[in-house]
């Protein structure tokens, strides 16, 4: 039996050897399984699964109910019931027998307008997405075009004489023009944006004049097509449609024909420029490959991460080194700079060893030890005394020097005591 060294490290044990056992012994009982079965686990977590599913369901239903239809839709969208939406107006129009077709792109608007016999185009471009060419094309789609909240580019393109007129004064303005819809509307709510144009411009009619001479609605008739510019787009929105004559104006402007093309440009109307994007250049299989790599990663995580049974607990003893008190005391000496105390400990140890070397007892008088050591080493007793007793170290350097001298004294004493090694007589 060879004793192994203490504290041998754990060696990665080789897998156990497997031996077939010839006879299938008497029918053994199955070992008790500690892992719960799938059914037991299901029973345990059933409440939480059901609760989670219920909470999810409630959240989805609540989201759908709480205006999920209008959330995130642009202002004046035909199916938006939110405050800036346009659904109120669209519903009334449809109720009155005017069919409303929603168009998201110019192409759709063109198709819709081409299908109808006498369409009216309602146009609102909040983001300024259309270029001048497309704006011109849009204006030529139908005999009647109603533009809500025209921007600078639109005015430049379709009605260059018209400019912005600032905000209307606080008084409700009367129609004051011959446009039938405006006459029916009577007044508009005060404080809206306005347009203006030089007096005497051909084909332009301004309605709802404010004190500054600006108009809330401008109608331009040219080559059989009517373009109505309504300065303030909020006039058509759900929350303001019912104010003053807004509803009458909107319904009369849009309800002139049987068909309204509700055209709000989207990002699809923006012409693409520049080189093809990275997405267009990548082959079709790249994204599915990335997806399958995600699945591979998931599978690998389960493969490597599934623990092979529960961890095993074991109480381990504390590890306390016996020399820790000594180390702690040394650090205390060093931190507080206890030079004399440290040196005293070294001196007491040295004196006891020296006493043993020169043949005195451990309890011998210090003076006797000094005398004996001085005699043995052939040094003046004053020097020995200064090393062993008197010198007080003022700095750490002196402490180091004194410690060296102590060691040197011990070595000298031991050299003087030890008989010289036997050598040849004639040397």
């Amino acid at each position: 039996m060879t004793p192994a060294p203490r504290g041998a490290t754990v060696q990665a044990a080789a897998p156990a050897t497997v031996t077939p056992v010839s006879a299938a012994g008497p029918s053994t009982e199955n070992a008790i399984a500690l892992t719960p079965t799938l059914r037991a686990t299901g029973r345990r977590v059933r409440f939480w699964v059901l609760a989670g599913a219920g909470a999810l369901l409630v959240a989805i239903v609540a989201t759908l109910l709480a205006g999920g239809t209008s959330a995130g839709k642009p202002p004046l969208a035909a199916d938006s019931a939110a405050q800036p939406g346009g659904r109120a107006l669209v519903e009334v129009l449809q109720h009155e027998g005017v069919s409303v077709t929603v168009a998201d792109t110019l192409a759709e608007a063109r198709t819709a307008a081409g299908r109808a016999e006498n369409p009216t185009v309602f146009f609102f471009d909040e983001g300024g997405l259309l270029t001048a060419d497309r704006l011109t094309a849009m204006a030529g789609l139908a005999p009647r075009t109603v533009v809500a909240g025209p921007d600078f580019l639109l005015l430049q393109t379709l009605a260059p004489e018209v400019g912005f007129g600032g905000v209307a004064d606080k008084k409700a303005a009367p129609a004051g023009c011959s446009v039938p819809a405006a006459v029916k509307a009577g007044t508009l709510p005060p404080g809206e944006r306005t347009l203006t144009f030089p007096a005497g411009s051909a084909g332009l009619t301004g309605c709802f004049t404010s004190a500054t001479g600006a108009f809330s609605v401008v109608e331009r008739v040219a080559s059989g097509r009517t373009l109505t510019l309504v300065a303030d787009d909020s006039l058509f929105s759900n929350d303001r449609i019912a104010l003053a004559g807004n509803a009458a104006l909107a319904l009369n402007l849009l309800g002139a024909g049987d068909e309204v093309v509700w055209y709000l440009p989207t990002i699809a109307d923006v012409e693409r420029t520049g080189p093809p994007s990275l997405g267009e250049l990548t082959p079709g299989w790249v994204t599915p490959t990335l997806v399958i790599l995600v699945f591979v990663t998931l599978a690998a995580m389960i493969w490597r991460g599934r623990r092979f049974g529960p961890l095993v607990a074991e109480n381990l003893p504390v590890t306390v080194r016996a020399s820790e008190t000594m180390e702690g005391r040394a650090r205390l000496y060093a931190r507080s700079g206890a030079r004399l105390r440290a040196l005293d400990a070294l001196r007491v140890g040295a004196v006891q060893r020296l006493a043993g070397q020169v043949g005195l007892s451990r309890l011998a008088n210090l003076d006797d030890v000094i005398q004996a050591v001085a005699r043995v080493t052939d040094r003046p007793s004053g020097e020995v005394r200064s090393v062993l007793v008197d010198r007080v170290p003022a700095t750490d350097a002196e402490l180091v020097a004194l410690s060296d001298r102590l060691q040197e004294l011990e070595r000298a004493t031991s050299r003087a005591i030890t008989p010289p090694p036997p050598g040849r007589m004639d040397s």
Binding site: G25, A33, A322
Partner: protein
């Protein structure tokens, strides 16, 4: 349930058809979906064909004891009681100190048969090492998915102290025999128990001539002596706070066990009766009235389960413990640690009660690094360290002197030296007839 590396590779293999067939994003996505569905179906099929890891009967065959540092074989029998063949990977969940390592044993058990899985254990710590459960992973015929279950299969093995000091035993026994006067060297025993008379040979001590027998026989006769026999030796091991400290990466308690085992082996060979107590505030282990081989086996068995307790030893009740063992005069060996005077005051105040009736030896492990530290004085930190070491040595010297003043004997040594030193002190006491 879990899955294997083979399944992961199979999923990853789907990249090939996706790249080869997926010209447009649409077809590539279709290939991806199809591949994932196929792989999932294969996995589920594999899982449904895997044998149940719960239909397993387990039986263990374990040796009861092992000496620390040696290896034993742990046998685990698996019977397949299910209806399918089992392709298993097995993990026997031994405590880490049992030295079973990170074992994963592949194993195939046909339906209705039994297989043996043998595992080599090399414990690294004394005490009782346990195993509670066996985890089994049963994979299907394709090796894609696997079922996993943890089964109850308790077992335990007792790890005994190594008794490395037994290498010192033969030389000490030889010296005992020399004391006994039984060797061919005819060295006369120096004990005090009268053994026999024999003829004088040159070199014998003239003081041992028996004049009365010489007169009767007409030839010079000497008395021979042999050391006393049938003395009591009581070993008290301190299992308190200080015994937890490690010297040379070995707890003081383990060194104390080594020393007591060597002493007990020696003393029982010398014909003395040995009793063993491990004590801190209550008795942690006790071996009483055992002889010969049974003594050592009972001692290692008792020692295996003793761990250092992090409480202060109650020295005042130790004399009572000794009195319970024997009321005769005995050699009482206290194996503890001699530190600062403050920590040893309880020991010192108790000692007179013991020394009044018994011969007392106090044995203590010293730290060889302390002695070494006094000599290393290269820089400022080392000098402070040397000073602290000197202070520690002075403390030990003072406490040792105080113990000697109380009439007890002191043995100190490094962990490797203490057991033989204590044995030598026992032989010295025996030869001086002080038992």
């Amino acid at each position: 349930m879990t899955l294997t590396g083979r399944f992961v590779a199979l999923v990853a293999l789907g990249v090939v058809p996706i790249v080869l067939l997926g010209r447009t994003p649409g077809t590539a996505a279709a290939v991806l979906g199809l591949w994932l569905l196929t792989v999932l179906a294969l996995g589920i099929l594999d899982l449904s064909l895997a044998g149940s890891p719960r239909a397993i009967g387990l039986a263990r065959n374990l040796p009861a004891r092992v000496r620390l540092g040696e290896s034993v074989t742990s046998d685990l029998y698996l019977s397949n009681t299910g209806t399918r063949d089992l392709r298993l990977v097995l993990r026997d969940a031994w405590q880490p100190s049992a030295g079973a390592g990170n074992n994963r044993t592949p194993l195939t058990v046909p339906r209705g048969e039994r297989r043996l899985a043998s595992l080599t254990l090399t414990p690294i710590r004394r005490g009782e090492r346990r195993v509670e459960q066996v985890t089994v992973r049963s994979s299907g015929p394709l090796g894609l998915w696997a079922r996993q279950a943890t089964l109850l299969a308790p077992g335990r093995i007792r790890v005994l102290p190594p008794f490395n000091a037994r290498k010192h035993l033969p030389s000490r026994i030889t010296r005992l025999k020399e004391l006994d006067g039984r060797t061919s060297l005819l060295v006369r025993g120096q004990g005090t128990e009268f053994d026999s008379l024999r003829e004088y040979v040159r070199g014998d001590d003239v003081r041992s001539i028996d004049w009365r027998a010489t007169a009767r026989r007409g030839d010079t006769m000497v008395r021979t002596w042999r050391p006393e026999r049938d003395r009591r030796v009581v070993i008290v091991v301190d299992s308190g706070r200080t015994s937890a400290a490690r010297v040379d990466d070995e707890p003081r308690l383990d060194t104390a066990f080594e020393a007591s085992l060597l002493l007990a082996a020696l003393a029982s060979k010398a014909g003395d009766r040995v009793d063993f107590i491990a004590y801190d505030r209550r008795t942690r282990g006790r071996v009483q009235g055992a002889q010969g081989a049974e003594l050592l086996s009972r001692m290692v068995d008792t020692m295996a389960m003793i761990e250092p307790e992090l409480i202060e030893t109650d020295w005042s009740s130790v004399p009572g413990q000794v009195r319970q063992v024997t009321t005769q005069r005995a050699l009482v060996v206290l194996i503890t640690s001699i530190d600062a005077a403050g920590a040893s005051s309880a020991l010192l105040s108790m000692l007179p009660q013991l020394t009044r009736h018994h011969t007392v030896v106090v044995a203590s492990v010293t730290d060889p690094t302390t002695l070494q530290a006094t000599r290393e004085r290269g820089n400022r930190e080392e000098i402070y360290r040397a000073a602290a070491a000197e202070r520690a040595l002075l403390d030990v010297a003072r406490v040792s002197a105080a113990i000697r003043q109380q009439g007890a004997d002191v043995v100190t040594g490094a962990p490797a030296d203490l057991p033989p030193d204590l044995a030598d002190r026992y032989i010295a006491l025996k030869s001086a007839g002080r038992l």
